[in-house]
């Protein structure tokens, strides 16, 4: 990502993260992107501009439509997110390891 600061602040907003997640499933027009949110089209367009300036999405011209898709930076951001989800799950399972070790000790203690 050549614009790391821009990308990081662009990702600080939950609506923009949701837009990125939607674009991870494929290209979409502004109308399609506006649909799942309780927001006006200009508000969504503003978010799209921030994502575009940060190098996370790109637009294409198709007649009167301007469909957006993930740019390379956006794909990298999604990969990083997946890594973070992985990390949150790993934290849970590391804790579960300790719980299981405690159960085993408890059982051995009872048998004695």
């Amino acid at each position: 990502m050549d614009n790391l600061d821009g990308a990081f602040s662009a990702l600080a907003d939950p609506t923009r993260r949701a837009i990125l997640a939607r674009l991870a499933t494929g290209e979409a027009t502004v109308n399609e992107l506006t649909e799942p949110f309780e927001m006006t089209q200009p508000a969504i367009s503003q978010h799209l501009k921030v994502l575009e300036d940060a190098g996370l999405i790109v637009r294409r011209v198709e007649g009167t439509k301007r469909p957006r898709r993930l740019a390379k930076g956006g794909i990298e951001a999604m990969d990083q997110w997946l890594a973070m989800l992985r990390k949150a799950l790993e934290t849970n399972y590391d804790r579960l390891d300790e719980v299981l070790a405690g159960m085993e000790k408890h059982k051995k203690g009872k048998k004695r």
């Binding site: 993260r17 934290t91 804790r95 719980v99 159960m103």
Partner: protein
Amino acid sequence: MSKMTLKIEGDTHVIVTRRFAAPPEAVYRAHTDPKLIQKWLLGPEGWTMPVCINEAKAGGKFRYEWTNGKGGGFHITGEYLELEPYNRIVHVERMYLPDPTPDNHIETRFEADGGGTLMTMRMTLPDGKTRAAMLATGMEHGMEASYVRLEGML
């Protein structure tokens, strides 16, 4: 040492596997006994689960509530479809943010693996869009942790 795998399959599945150094019975119990669940199913550091209601039988309901102690929180509810002690759990769940997300259908298997257990969790979302949203939500949880870490470094 990375014991966990997480991968995306087809348009609607997420598969997680993890090995544990305890027999399937113990791992199964840690997934169904509320007192044990509250000790580990917490996400990033600083989160707790003050409410853990869990009726571990076919048709039984559960409700987990999390809080970060700073006014942030969310909850999930779900129903058990099938329970085969100590091998398999099938349930559906949804998250309230605050509107309920579409149901996530989850099959969790516990297989004896040497002296331990291989757990395989297979999530099925209704469509690709829902899966993307779910991953984004999970990421948000992780993202918060990374922001907290970042704050600690500054």
